[in-house]
C-alpha cells in the first residue's frame, strides 16, 4: 500500500504538515486496529491529529458516519464516530433538536468533539460536550472493543473526554440532545470600548443569554486595550421565529493561498477598525439561522488560506480570572507587547470544569489568538505559555503546536492521573500523536 511515500502529507487546520496519509474505511475498527491514532476531519489547528515522526499512516474516521439511533423522545443520538455535525445537524433541526454543545465549526466529527471535549458559546451554563456523552465504544490499544460510560469503566470514560484520542480509537458515541423552542436564534451584538467594559459586558450577558462570546481587537493598546464586540444569543421562541423560512445560504470559498504579506499589522488593523464599527453601541436583536450564528466562518471554505502558504497557529488558554483578577488583561498586554498581533482574538467566559481528566475549560476567561506562522512564532507561543503558567491557567491541546513538554507539565497537574489511567489501557503507549510525543514524552 502506498503510505505517504508519494509525497503525500497530512496537515492540521493551521497548515502545519508531516509526511503521511489516512487509511479510510467504512469499517473504522478495521483501519484503526494497528493504527497509532484516529483522525476525524483535521480541524484541530496544531499537531494533535498528526502521526508521530516515522509513522506514515493514521486511521481516518470520515467514512464511518452512520446514525445508528435517533430517539426523539429521550432525546438521544447514537452514531459512528466519523459523523460530522455538518451531516447530522439538518436531521436534528428537522425534528426540533440540536446538539447540546457545538464548537465554532460544523466540520468536526463526533469522535473529534469527544476527543477534544469541545466547548461552545454556552460553556458558562452548559459545560462541554462531555457532560452530554452517555456512552462510548472504543477500540483500545490491544485491539479490544470496549464500551464505557459513567457506570462501566468510568475511568476510561473520563480520560477519553478530552483525551485527544490517546486512550483508544473512538468508534461510537452516544449523546443526549437538546430540544428547541424553534429553529432560529435571537442574537445581538454590542460594541465595547475597553477590556474592563468588555469583561463586564460578557458577565452581564451571561446571566440572561445561553450563548455568549466576544471578539477583541488585540492591536489596540493602552486605554483602548480590549476594544471589541460582545455577541450573545438564545433560541428564539416560536412567536419570535414566526414566519421565518429556511434560505439556502451562500457558500463562498477562498480559492488559493493568499500571498504571505497579505495579512500584516496594517491590514489587520484596518480590518479590526472596520469590523468594530460594523457593530452598534446599542444592541439591536435579530433572528438568525443556527448556521449563521454558530458557524459564520464555515460560510467561507478554506478560510485558513488567508494566512498564505506559511500557515498559522492558534493559541488558546483559559485563565482563572476569579482567583487572579486582571489575569486576562495582563495576558493581553503581554501578548500585545510581544507582537502577538492577531487578526482574530476570541474571548469567552468559561463555567464549571467538566469530568474529562484533561478537559480544557475551567472557570475563568478563555482567550484564543490566531497567529500567522513566522520564524518567531514558536518563541512567541512559549512566552505566552509562561504567562499562562504564571496566572495558573492552561492551554487547549486542540489548538497547540509549539508548547514545550516542561511547560505542559507545569500547567497540567492532572497529567499524572491521565497517565495512570492510560497506563492501564495502553502500557506501551502505542496510541500516540505528534503532539503526544512533544507534550507527553511518548516514544517517537
Amino acid at each position: 500500500m502506498s503510505s505517504g511515500e508519494n509525497g503525500e502529507r497530512l496537515a492540521g487546520w493551521g497548515g502545519l504538515s508531516v509526511p503521511g496519509r489516512e487509511l479510510r474505511s467504512e469499517d473504522l475498527a478495521a483501519v484503526a486496529r494497528g493504527a497509532v491514532l484516529t483522525r476525524g476531519l483535521g480541524r484541530s489547528y496544531g499537531d494533535s491529529a498528526l502521526p508521530p515522526p516515522g509513522v506514515l499512516t493514521v486511521a481516518g474516521s470520515a467514512l464511518a458516519d452512520r446514525i445508528l439511533e435517533l430517539d426523539v423522545e429521550a432525546p438521544r443520538l447514537r452514531a459512528e464516530a466519523g459523523l460530522s455535525l455538518r451531516a447530522l445537524v439538518p436531521h436534528l433541526l428537522r425534528r426540533g433538536l440540536f446538539p447540546p454543545v457545538v464548537p465554532g465549526t460544523q466540520f468536526v466529527t463526533l469522535g473529534g468533539m469527544v476527543a477534544a471535549d469541545v466547548h461552545g458559546k454556552n460553556h458558562h451554563v452548559d459545560g462541554t460536550i462531555g457532560r452530554y456523552v452517555t456512552r462510548l465504544v472504543l477500540l483500545t490499544a490491544d485491539g479490544e472493543r470496549v464500551t464505557c460510560s459513567r457506570a462501566v469503566e468510568p475511568e476510561l470514560f473520563r480520560a477519553t473526554l478530552g483525551g485527544m484520542g490517546l486512550t483508544g480509537h473512538i468508534l461510537e458515541v452516544e449523546l443526549a440532545l437538546r430540544r428547541l423552542p424553534s429553529r432560529w436564534l435571537l442574537a445581538e451584538s454590542l460594541r465595547v470600548d475597553g477590556i474592563d467594559a468588555f469583561l463586564d459586558g460578557l458577565e452581564q450577558s451571561a446571566r440572561a443569554w445561553r450563548y455568549t462570546v466576544g471578539w477583541i481587537d488585540c492591536l489596540t493598546t493602552g486605554r483602548r486595550l480590549g476594544r471589541g464586540v460582545v455577541f450573545r444569543g438564545r433560541w428564539a421562541t416560536a412567536e419570535e421565529a414566526a414566519g421565518r423560512r429556511e434560505r439556502r445560504e451562500a457558500q463562498r470559498s477562498v480559492p488559493f493561498d493568499f500571498p504571505n504579506w497579505a495579512l500584516n499589522d496594517a491590514t489587520a488593523r484596518l480590518f479590526n477598525a472596520v469590523y468594530t464599527r460594523c457593530h452598534p453601541r446599542r444592541p439591536r436583536p435579530r433572528v438568525e439561522s443556527p448556521r449563521r450564528f454558530f458557524w459564520p466562518l464555515d460560510a467561507i471554505g478554506h478560510w485558513n488560506r488567508i494566512y498564505g502558504r506559511r500557515g498559522f497557529t492558534q493559541f488558546q488558554c483559559v485563565l482563572p480570572e476569579r482567583e487572579r483578577p486582571g489575569a486576562a488583561k495582563r495576558f493581553l498586554a503581554a501578548a500585545a507587547a510581544r507582537g502577538g498581533s492577531s487578526f482574530l482574538c476570541v474571548v469567552k467566559d468559561c463555567g464549571e470544569e467538566g469530568e474529562g481528566v484533561l478537559s480544557f475549560p475551567r472557570p475563568g476567561i478563555s482567550i484564543a489568538l490566531d497567529l500567522p506562522l513566522r520564524p518567531s512564532t514558536a518563541e512567541l507561543v512559549r512566552a505566552l505559555a509562561e504567562v499562562v503558567i504564571e496566572e495558573g491557567g492552561r492551554i487547549y491541546l486542540a489548538k497547540d503546536a509549539f508548547v514545550r513538554r516542561d511547560q505542559f507539565a507545569r500547567m497540567e497537574p492532572r497529567l499524572a492521573e491521565f497517565e495512570r489511567i492510560r497506563a492501564r489501557w495502553d502500557p506501551g503507549r502505542r496510541l500516540r500523536s505528534a503532539q503526544s510525543v512533544r507534550l507527553f514524552g511518548d516514544p517517537a
Binding site: 502506498s2 496519509r21 479510510r24 474505511s25 467504512e26 452512520r66 446514525i67 445508528l68 435517533l70 436531521h91
Partner: protein, 247 residues
C-alpha cells in the same frame, strides 16, 4: 418507490440508499453481514422524512449465487411490489495484486461477473413476473476497453456490461428497464490509497445522477457525465496508442 439494494452498507451503495431514503422511498437491504445491514438500515431510517425507510434486511453474497433467490424472496415478501433492484456490490483490487494472488483473481472474476449475472437473473425473473420494474447495476468505465491497469477487473466489468445490454434488448418490451451505471473513479474505501485521477467524484455527488437514471429508466449512465466523453475518446484510440500509454 420500493427499492432492493445489494451493497448499501458501503461506498456508492450507501450514498444511493441514503438518497433514496431522503426522498421517502422504502428500502430492503441485501448484503453479506446482517449486523452491518441493520446499522445501515437504521441510518436510512433517520434520513427518511417519515423516520422509517427500511422494510427489512437479508443476507446475500455474490460469491454464493444460491443466496440470491431466498434473499430476493424475502425482499418481495416484505415489499409486496419491488420497483427497482439496485446492485452496487462488487470486488475491486489493483491489477498488480490480482496478478500476484490467483485466488483473489478467481474471487473477483466470480463476484463481479458470474455472481452478479446470476443475481440479476433471479431479480429479472421476479421483476418480469410482477409485470416489470427497473434493474440498476453498477458496472464500470473499466469495461470499455482492455487497458493495462484493469485487465482482469475490466474484463469482468466488460462481460457484465454486455450481459446487461443483452438483457435490455431481450426484455425491454416486457417492461424490464435495465440501467447500466458506469462510474469513473470514485473516492470510496474501495479505492482508498490509490492515486486519484482527474474527474474523481464522491459517492454523494453521483447518487442523485443515478437516482434520476433509475426514475427515467436511462439504459446507460456515466457518472459523472464527463466520463461519457472521456470514454468516447478512449474507445476510439488505436491499439498502438493504448499499448504505449499507462492508463
Amino acid at each position: 418507490m420500493n427499492a432492493v439494494v445489494l451493497g448499501a452498507t458501503r461506498g456508492a451503495g450507501r450514498a444511493l440508499a441514503r438518497a433514496l431514503a431522503a426522498r421517502g422511498d422504502r428500502l430492503f437491504l441485501l448484503g453479506r453481514d446482517l449486523e452491518e445491514l441493520r446499522r445501515s438500515a437504521a441510518d436510512c431510517d433517520v434520513r427518511s422524512p417519515g423516520g422509517a425507510a427500511a422494510l427489512g434486511v437479508a443476507g446475500c453474497d455474490l460469491l454464493a449465487p444460491e443466496s440470491a433467490a431466498p434473499a430476493l424472496d424475502a425482499a418481495w415478501a416484505a415489499c409486496g411490489r419491488v420497483d427497482a433492484v439496485v446492485v452496487t456490490a462488487a470486488l475491486f483490487a489493483t491489477q498488480e495484486r490480482l496478478e500476484s494472488d490467483r485466488e483473489l483473481a478467481r474471487r473477483l472474476l466470480e463476484a463481479d461477473f458470474s455472481g452478479t449475472v446470476l443475481f440479476c437473473e433471479e431479480a429479472r425473473q421476479r421483476l418480469l413476473a410482477q409485470g416489470g420494474g427497473t434493474l440498476c447495476v453498477f458496472s464500470s468505465v473499466a469495461g470499455e476497453r482492455g487497458r493495462k491497469p484493469v485487465v482482469l477487473y475490466g474484463a469482468a466489468k466488460a462481460g457484465l456490461t454486455r450481459y446487461l445490454e443483452g438483457l435490455d434488448h431481450r426484455f425491454h418490451a416486457r417492461g424490464l428497464r435495465v440501467v447500466t451505471v458506469k462510474p469513473g473513479f470514485l473516492r470510496t474505501s474501495m479505492t482508498d490509497g490509490l492515486p486519484a485521477p482527474p474527474f474523481t467524484a464522491d459517492p454523494d455527488e453521483i447518487a442523485p445522477l443515478v437516482l434520476r437514471a433509475i426514475d427515467r429508466g436511462t439504459p446507460v449512465v456515466y457518472v459523472t457525465p464527463v466520463w461519457r466523453w472521456v470514454m468516447l475518446v478512449v474507445r476510439s484510440l488505436p491499439r498502438f496508442v493504448l499499448r504505449r500509454v499507462g492508463f
